[in-house]
Protein backbone atom coordinates (compact mmCIF):
# COMPACT_ATOMS: atom_id res chain seq x y z
CA UNK A 1 0.00 0.00 0.00
CA UNK A 2 1.44 3.35 -1.05
CA UNK A 3 0.12 6.83 -0.29
CA UNK A 4 1.91 9.91 -1.55
CA UNK A 5 0.93 13.55 -1.12
CA UNK A 6 3.29 15.69 -3.13
CA UNK A 7 3.70 19.01 -4.88
CA UNK A 8 5.73 17.77 -7.85
CA UNK A 9 4.14 16.15 -10.91
CA UNK A 10 4.04 12.36 -11.20
CA UNK A 11 4.28 10.19 -14.28
CA UNK A 12 1.04 8.24 -14.70
CA UNK A 13 2.67 5.73 -17.04
CA UNK A 14 5.61 5.01 -14.76
CA UNK A 15 3.36 4.70 -11.74
CA UNK A 16 0.92 2.40 -13.54
CA UNK A 17 3.77 0.17 -14.77
CA UNK A 18 5.47 0.03 -11.38
CA UNK A 19 2.19 -0.78 -9.67
CA UNK A 20 1.30 -3.54 -12.15
CA UNK A 21 4.85 -4.95 -12.06
CA UNK A 22 4.72 -5.24 -8.28
CA UNK A 23 1.74 -7.62 -8.42
CA UNK A 24 2.37 -11.31 -8.52
CA UNK A 25 -1.03 -12.69 -7.65
CA UNK A 26 -3.40 -10.06 -9.00
CA UNK A 27 -4.80 -10.48 -12.48
CA UNK A 28 -6.72 -7.19 -12.41
CA UNK A 29 -5.44 -3.64 -12.03
CA UNK A 30 -7.76 -0.62 -12.19
CA UNK A 31 -6.45 2.93 -12.21
CA UNK A 32 -8.22 6.26 -12.03
CA UNK A 33 -6.46 9.47 -13.02
CA UNK A 34 -7.78 12.98 -12.45
CA UNK A 35 -6.66 15.59 -14.96
CA UNK A 36 -6.93 19.40 -14.76
CA UNK A 37 -9.63 20.38 -17.23
CA UNK A 38 -9.85 23.70 -18.94
CA UNK A 39 -12.89 25.79 -17.98
CA UNK A 40 -16.06 25.40 -20.05
CA UNK A 41 -16.80 28.07 -22.62
CA UNK A 42 -13.15 28.94 -23.12
CA UNK A 43 -12.97 31.16 -20.04
CA UNK A 44 -9.33 30.16 -20.02
CA UNK A 45 -7.98 28.47 -16.91
CA UNK A 46 -4.66 30.04 -16.09
CA UNK A 47 -3.88 27.58 -13.28
CA UNK A 48 -5.46 25.43 -10.64
CA UNK A 49 -4.13 25.67 -7.10
CA UNK A 50 -4.80 22.88 -4.64
CA UNK A 51 -4.56 23.53 -0.93
CA UNK A 52 -4.49 20.72 1.59
CA UNK A 53 -4.19 20.07 5.32
CA UNK A 54 -0.77 18.52 5.93
CA UNK A 55 -1.02 15.81 8.54
CA UNK A 56 -4.73 15.27 8.23
CA UNK A 57 -4.45 14.56 4.50
CA UNK A 58 -2.11 11.60 4.98
CA UNK A 59 -4.26 10.25 7.83
CA UNK A 60 -7.49 10.59 5.84
CA UNK A 61 -6.04 8.89 2.75
CA UNK A 62 -4.55 6.13 4.89
CA UNK A 63 -7.93 5.55 6.51
CA UNK A 64 -9.74 5.46 3.16
CA UNK A 65 -7.21 2.97 1.76
CA UNK A 66 -7.46 0.80 4.89
CA UNK A 67 -11.27 0.85 4.64
CA UNK A 68 -11.06 -0.32 1.02
CA UNK A 69 -8.78 -3.20 2.02
CA UNK A 70 -11.26 -4.24 4.71
CA UNK A 71 -14.20 -4.24 2.31
CA UNK A 72 -12.62 -6.03 -0.65
CA UNK A 73 -9.98 -8.66 -1.16
CA UNK A 74 -7.24 -6.53 -2.64
CA UNK A 75 -3.64 -7.29 -3.45
CA UNK A 76 -2.54 -3.66 -3.35
CA UNK A 77 -3.67 -0.04 -3.28
CA UNK A 78 -1.96 3.16 -4.45
CA UNK A 79 -2.99 6.78 -3.92
CA UNK A 80 -1.02 9.75 -5.23
CA UNK A 81 -2.42 13.27 -4.82
CA UNK A 82 -0.74 16.54 -5.69
CA UNK A 83 -1.16 19.95 -4.12
CA UNK A 84 0.06 23.36 -5.23
CA UNK A 85 -0.10 24.84 -8.70
CA UNK A 86 -0.92 23.00 -11.90
CA UNK A 87 -2.05 23.79 -15.45
CA UNK A 88 -4.75 22.37 -17.72
CA UNK A 89 -3.81 18.86 -18.86
CA UNK A 90 -1.64 18.07 -15.84
CA UNK A 91 -2.44 15.04 -13.75
CA UNK A 92 -3.87 15.97 -10.34
CA UNK A 93 -4.01 12.57 -8.73
CA UNK A 94 -4.36 8.88 -9.30
CA UNK A 95 -5.52 5.79 -7.47
CA UNK A 96 -4.85 2.17 -8.36
CA UNK A 97 -6.29 -1.05 -7.01
CA UNK A 98 -5.06 -4.58 -7.73
CA UNK A 99 -7.05 -7.74 -7.07
CA UNK A 100 -7.48 -11.29 -8.26
CA UNK A 101 -10.95 -10.46 -9.52
CA UNK A 102 -11.79 -7.45 -11.62
CA UNK A 103 -14.99 -6.57 -9.77
CA UNK A 104 -13.07 -6.06 -6.52
CA UNK A 105 -10.50 -3.88 -8.26
CA UNK A 106 -13.21 -1.76 -9.91
CA UNK A 107 -15.30 -1.39 -6.77
CA UNK A 108 -12.29 -0.52 -4.64
CA UNK A 109 -11.01 2.11 -7.08
CA UNK A 110 -14.43 3.73 -7.28
CA UNK A 111 -14.79 3.64 -3.49
CA UNK A 112 -11.36 5.24 -3.07
CA UNK A 113 -12.36 8.01 -5.46
CA UNK A 114 -15.75 8.62 -3.87
CA UNK A 115 -14.25 8.98 -0.41
CA UNK A 116 -11.19 10.88 -1.55
CA UNK A 117 -13.45 13.45 -3.27
CA UNK A 118 -15.43 14.36 -0.18
CA UNK A 119 -13.46 13.14 2.84
CA UNK A 120 -9.84 14.02 2.14
CA UNK A 121 -8.90 17.62 2.97
CA UNK A 122 -8.08 19.08 -0.43
CA UNK A 123 -9.54 22.28 -1.86
CA UNK A 124 -9.24 23.38 -5.47
CA UNK A 125 -9.12 26.96 -6.67
CA UNK A 126 -9.37 27.80 -10.36
CA UNK A 127 -7.55 30.94 -11.47
CA UNK A 128 -8.35 32.81 -14.66
CA UNK A 129 -7.10 36.21 -15.75
CA UNK A 130 -10.19 37.60 -13.94
CA UNK A 131 -9.30 36.13 -10.55
CA UNK A 132 -9.78 32.94 -8.62
CA UNK A 133 -12.78 30.80 -7.68
CA UNK A 134 -12.90 28.00 -5.16
CA UNK A 135 -14.40 24.91 -6.76
CA UNK A 136 -17.72 24.13 -5.08
CA UNK A 137 -18.39 20.66 -3.75
CA UNK A 138 -21.08 18.89 -5.79
CA UNK A 139 -24.11 17.30 -4.15
CA UNK A 140 -23.58 14.24 -6.35
CA UNK A 141 -20.19 13.72 -4.74
CA UNK A 142 -21.71 13.61 -1.27
CA UNK A 143 -24.52 11.38 -2.55
CA UNK A 144 -21.98 9.00 -4.11
CA UNK A 145 -20.89 7.95 -0.61
CA UNK A 146 -24.31 6.55 0.22
CA UNK A 147 -23.98 3.45 -1.87
CA UNK A 148 -20.99 2.08 0.04
Amino acid sequence: MTIRVQEQPFDLGEEANAFADAQDDAGAVVTFTGIVRDLPGGAGLDRMVIEHYPGMTEKALGQIAADARTRWELADVLIIHRYGEMRAGERIMMVAAAARHRKNAFDAAEFLMDYLKSRAPFWKKEHTTDGGDWVAARDEDEDALKRW
Partner: protein, 81 residues
Amino acid sequence: MDVLYFAWVRERIGLPREQVETQARTVNDLVAELRAREERYAAAFADLSALRVAVDQELADFDAPLDGAREVAFFPPMTGG
Protein backbone atom coordinates in the same frame (compact mmCIF):
# COMPACT_ATOMS: atom_id res chain seq x y z
CA MET B 1 -5.35 25.37 21.14
CA ASP B 2 -4.31 25.67 17.49
CA VAL B 3 -7.11 26.79 15.21
CA LEU B 4 -6.55 26.31 11.48
CA TYR B 5 -8.42 27.73 8.50
CA PHE B 6 -8.37 26.47 4.93
CA ALA B 7 -9.53 27.63 1.49
CA TRP B 8 -12.01 30.53 1.55
CA VAL B 9 -12.30 30.36 5.34
CA ARG B 10 -8.58 31.11 5.52
CA GLU B 11 -8.95 33.91 2.99
CA ARG B 12 -11.94 35.47 4.74
CA ILE B 13 -10.32 35.40 8.16
CA GLY B 14 -7.00 36.42 6.71
CA LEU B 15 -4.72 33.88 8.35
CA PRO B 16 -4.03 30.16 8.08
CA ARG B 17 -3.66 29.34 11.74
CA GLU B 18 -3.64 30.96 15.15
CA GLN B 19 -3.22 30.08 18.78
CA VAL B 20 -6.51 30.55 20.68
CA GLU B 21 -6.90 30.62 24.45
CA THR B 22 -10.34 29.20 25.13
CA GLN B 23 -12.44 27.30 27.64
CA ALA B 24 -14.91 26.30 24.90
CA ARG B 25 -16.35 22.86 25.65
CA THR B 26 -17.61 22.12 22.14
CA VAL B 27 -16.87 23.21 18.59
CA ASN B 28 -20.07 25.26 18.66
CA ASP B 29 -18.83 27.12 21.76
CA LEU B 30 -15.56 27.85 19.99
CA VAL B 31 -17.40 29.09 16.91
CA ALA B 32 -19.48 31.43 19.12
CA GLU B 33 -16.31 32.88 20.67
CA LEU B 34 -14.66 33.38 17.28
CA ARG B 35 -17.78 34.96 15.75
CA ALA B 36 -17.86 37.50 18.59
CA ARG B 37 -14.32 38.65 17.88
CA GLU B 38 -14.50 40.61 14.65
CA GLU B 39 -16.57 41.06 11.54
CA ARG B 40 -14.25 38.86 9.42
CA TYR B 41 -14.83 35.95 11.80
CA ALA B 42 -18.58 36.57 11.87
CA ALA B 43 -18.53 36.54 8.05
CA ALA B 44 -16.51 33.34 7.84
CA PHE B 45 -18.80 31.55 10.30
CA ALA B 46 -22.07 33.05 9.05
CA ASP B 47 -23.38 29.81 7.57
CA LEU B 48 -22.19 26.67 9.35
CA SER B 49 -23.87 24.43 6.77
CA ALA B 50 -21.17 25.63 4.35
CA LEU B 51 -18.42 24.62 6.76
CA ARG B 52 -16.77 21.44 7.93
CA VAL B 53 -14.68 20.97 11.04
CA ALA B 54 -11.89 18.61 12.06
CA VAL B 55 -10.82 18.06 15.67
CA ASP B 56 -7.27 16.78 15.96
CA GLN B 57 -7.28 16.01 12.24
CA GLU B 58 -10.45 13.92 12.28
CA LEU B 59 -13.71 15.13 10.75
CA ALA B 60 -16.14 16.02 13.54
CA ASP B 61 -19.58 17.49 14.14
CA PHE B 62 -20.09 21.01 15.42
CA ASP B 63 -21.38 19.66 18.72
CA ALA B 64 -18.24 17.57 19.24
CA PRO B 65 -16.54 18.08 22.64
CA LEU B 66 -13.18 19.81 22.73
CA ASP B 67 -11.74 18.40 25.96
CA GLY B 68 -8.11 17.63 25.37
CA ALA B 69 -8.23 18.77 21.74
CA ARG B 70 -5.03 20.38 20.53
CA GLU B 71 -6.01 21.32 16.99
CA VAL B 72 -9.31 22.42 15.45
CA ALA B 73 -9.63 23.19 11.75
CA PHE B 74 -12.42 24.90 9.83
CA PHE B 75 -12.86 24.61 6.08
CA PRO B 76 -15.43 24.33 3.28
CA PRO B 77 -16.57 20.93 1.94
CA MET B 78 -13.59 19.18 0.44
CA THR B 79 -12.98 19.02 -3.30
CA GLY B 80 -10.20 16.51 -3.81
CA GLY B 81 -9.75 14.03 -6.62
